[in-house]
Point group: C2
Chain length 414, copies 2
C-alpha cells in the first residue's frame, strides 16, 4: 500500500526537486496539464521583459544583428536538437506544427517521385491528418496525381507498408492514450520499403528521451508549448536529417530560407542545410520565451527527467487502482518502454469529472469522447501531488460532485 | 526656403502630436525605420507583462477560454480590417506573410482551374516571388501541370493580362521605391480577365488608407511588425473577400481552421468563413502585442495619419533638395496618390551612408544595391525630426564621414 508519507520521502530524495522553484506555479494548484501548456519559467519572465524593453524598445531594428534575432531559429533549434538526439544543424524552431508538417510532407513526397501513398494512423493527432488531406487534395485539384492516405493499425505498422509508400507519418507518443511507438523499429520498417519516416514529437520532446539520429529518422516536427515550456502558441520545431538537406526543394520557399535573403534576388535559391526549411520572419517574443523553456530541460537532463517521469506515471496508475479500484479505465500502457509522460483515464463522465477537478484546483485536460488526460512534468511536479490529486479525484467520485448540469456543457479546451 | 522654425510650428499645430507619447522612443534617436520594425507602444509593455504573469503564469491552460486566446486571430484580424477597408469576418491575424501568401496563392489557383499563369512584377518583394516559385515548382515536381510566373511592367499591369491568368499578385506600395499601385484600377483590370486579385499590403497597412472591399479586391496579406507596431516578427494577416469563402479548400488545412477543432475528427471539414484560413495554434505573446499596436492606429485614424504622412514625406523630399541639392536620387514619386509613407534615396555609397547615419542616431534602412529607405511613421515622428535628420545627413556628406572602411563591410539588415 502506498501512503502519502512514502511519496513525501520520494520527494525528499528527488534529485530534480529543486527545479520546481524555477517555475511559476500558482498556490493550491496541481497542474497536470504541462502536456498542453507548460508552466512559465521565472527566467522567461525576466528574459521577455528584457526583450520587450531593451531589444525591441531601445535597440529596435538593430536587434536583428546586435541581439542576434536573426540567429534565433537555428540557435533554439540546435538546443531542441540536444533533447531529441539530433546533432547540430538539423533542427530549427519555426512556424506551427501544422505548417511544419506541410513543409516536410511536401518535401518527403518530392524525395520519392512516383510513389503515391502516405501511411499514417487514424488516431494520429487530427491536424496531422488534415495537413496530409489538404496537401494531397490541393495537388489533385490543381491537376496533379491522386495521392492516397492509408491508415495503418498502430500495433502493426509494417503490415501497411509497400513500395508505393512515399512517407510514413506517425506521432511518437499518442496524444490520447500516451502509448509510444518503437521509433527505431518503425523507422527501420519504413526504410525497408524505401519510405521516408516523419515523426511528430509533440508529446515526446522534453517528455521522453528521443534519438532521432540514432534511429536513422528522416524528418520530425514537434511542439514548443507543451513539455518544452515555451509559452502559449510557442513556435514549433522541425528536423531533417542532414543526408536529405541538399535534395530538398522547399514548397514553402520564403526569404528566411534563401541562401542570401538580404540580396533581394528575384529568384529563390535555397540556403545550404536546414535553414532552407525556414520561411518568414520569426516571431521574436515567442521565440525568446521558447529558448528559456528549452534551457530548463537541458539543465535538468532528459535521462533524469525520464527516470522521474516513469516513476510519476507508474505511481499514479498504482494510486488510481489502489484508491479508486476500477472506477476508471487506464488507457496508457503499463510497460515502461511503451508510454510517454502522461496517463489517460477513461470514464463516460470524463468531461464533467475534468470540470469538477478544475474547480478543486487540479488541472487535467480532456479529449473527446471520454479521456481524462493527465500530463506529468517531472520538472515541476512532486510525488505528493499525485497523492493529493488522487485524493481529490476520489472525493469527487465518492460525493458525486461531478454530477452537475453545468459541468456537462462542453466548452472548448485545448 | 524651409526653416527649422517652420517645422516646429507645424509640430505645434499637429493634431496627432500627442500620440508620440504613447511610444517608447530612445532619447536622441530619430527613428526612420518604422517601416521595418515599428516602435514599442508603452501599452504593449503593460499588456505583455499581464499576458506573461497572469494569463500564462497564473491562469495557464484555462486562458484559452478565460482570456479568449482562442479568439485572438479573429479579433485582431477584424481590428486590422478596420485599417484596410475590410468589413468584419474577412481578415485574420496568423502565421507569417510568406505562409499566408502560400495559402492564398494555392486557394486562388484552385478558384481558377485550368488557368496556369500567375502575374506579378519582378520588383515585388522577393519572398512573394519565392512563394510563387516554391508552390508552382512543387506542383510540377509532384506530377501536376506547369504553371508559369509572368513578370509585368509595374507601370502597365494590364498589358500582361490575358485569360490564362489565374491570379495577379502585387505589392500595393513597393518596398524599395515607395511607389503605389492604383488598387482600384489594377483590381478592375485583373477582373476584366477573370483573374483573382491578391494584394500584399506589407507597406500599406497602417501607412496609407486602403479600401479592400471598396476596390473589390479578392485577397490580401500584410505585415504586423512594420507600421502596425506589432513587435518583432509579429503575426501577419490575411484577407479573403466573403464571396470566396465557401469555395476555398485550404491547402494548409490545420486544426485551427477546422469547423470543430475540439471534436478531434480524423477528417478535415473547413470552418465556415475566414476561419478556415487558420492553420496551427496562434503565438499568443506575439499576437497580444500586435493587438495593442493595431489599437493605436485605430485611435489615431487612418485619414489623419495619411494627411500627416504625406506632409512628412513631401517636406522631407523638399528638404533633401534644399539642403543637399542633387547629391541623392529620389526614387519615390512626388505625386500624392503615387506614394506610400516612405522616401527612398539612392546613392552609390548608400550602405556606408546608412551606417554613418546609424552611428549618429538616425536609423534608416538599406535595400541593395543603393537604396536608403526612410520610413515616416506619423504616429511618433515630428516635423523637426525631418530637419534634424537632414542636417545630420548633410554633415555626413559634407565631412565625408561615411567614407570609412568599416562602414563598407555589409552586414545583414532587415
Amino acid at each position: 500500500v502506498i501512503t502519502r508519507d512514502d511519496l513525501a520521502a520520494r520527494d525528499a530524495a528527488d534529485p530534480l526537486a529543486s527545479f520546481r522553484d524555477a517555475y511559476v506555479l500558482p498556490d493550491g494548484l496541481i497542474y497536470l496539464d504541462g502536456n498542453s501548456l507548460g508552466a512559465l519559467p521565472h527566467e522567461a519572465r525576466a528574459r521577455l521583459h528584457d526583450v520587450i524593453d531593451r531589444e525591441w524598445g531601445r535597440d529596435l531594428i538593430r536587434s536583428w544583428t546586435k541581439n542576434d534575432w536573426i540567429g534565433l531559429p537555428a540557435r533554439v533549434g540546435d538546443k531542441i536538437g540536444r533533447l531529441i538526439g539530433a546533432a547540430p544543424g538539423q533542427t530549427v524552431a519555426a512556424d506551427s506544427i501544422s505548417v511544419n508538417l506541410f513543409k516536410l510532407l511536401a518535401a518527403a513526397l518530392q524525395l520519392r517521385p512516383g510513389r503515391t501513398t502516405i501511411v499514417t494512423e487514424e488516431g494520429n493527432f487530427p491536424t496531422d491528418l488534415y495537413i496530409a488531406q489538404g496537401l494531397t487534395g490541393m495537388i489533385e485539384r490543381l491537376g496533379g496525381p491522386a495521392f492516397q492516405i492509408r491508415y495503418a493499425d498502430p500495433l502493426d505498422i509494417p503490415a501497411a507498408l509497400d513500395d508505393d509508400v512515399a512517407v510514413v507519418m506517425l506521432t511518437h507518443v499518442d496524444f490520447k492514450s500516451g502509448r509510444n511507438h518503437d521509433m527505431a523499429a518503425v523507422t527501420a520498417a519504413a526504410h525497408l520499403h524505401g519510405a521516408v519516416m516523419l515523426w511528430d514529437l509533440s508529446h515526446s520532446a522534453g517528455a521522453v528521451p528521443v534519438e532521432l539520429d540514432g534511429c536513422n529518422a528522416d524528418m520530425a516536427v514537434g511542439c514548443g508549448y507543451k513539455y518544452l515550456n515555451g509559452g502559449p502558441g510557442a513556435p514549433a520545431f522541425l528536423y531533417v536529417a542532414e543526408r536529405h538537406h541538399d535534395a530538398i526543394d522547399p514548397a514553402l520557399a520564403g526569404w528566411m530560407g534563401h541562401a542570401a535573403p538580404f540580396e533581394f534576388s528575384p529568384d529563390y535559391r535555397p540556403a545550404p542545410g536546414i535553414a532552407r526549411m525556414l520561411v518568414g520572419t520569426p516571431p521574436v517574443l515567442s521565440m525568446a520565451a521558447l529558448e528559456i523553456g528549452v534551457d530548463g530541460l537541458i539543465a535538468a537532463d532528459m535521462d533524469r527527467l525520464r527516470t522521474k517521469s516513469l516513476a510519476l506515471t507508474g505511481t499514479f496508475m498504482d494510486l488510481v487502482e489502489q484508491e479508486l479500484g476500477d472506477a476508471f479505465g487506464i488507457m496508457t500502457p503499463r510497460g515502461e518502454h511503451d508510454r510517454g509522460s502522461q496517463v489517460s483515464l477513461t470514464h463516460r463522465h470524463g468531461y464533467a469529472i475534468a470540470r469538477a477537478l478544475i474547480d478543486r484546483g487540479v488541472i487535467p485536460d480532456f479529449r473527446a469522447p471520454d479521456v481524462l488526460r493527465l500530463g506529468f512534468t517531472p520538472l515541476y511536479l512532486r510525488f505528493v501531488d499525485l497523492w493529493d490529486a488522487v485524493a481529490i479525484l476520489k472525493d469527487i467520485m465518492d460525493s458525486h460532485a461531478w454530477d452537475r448540469a453545468d459541468y456537462k456543457v462542453r466548452a472548448a479546451v485545448t
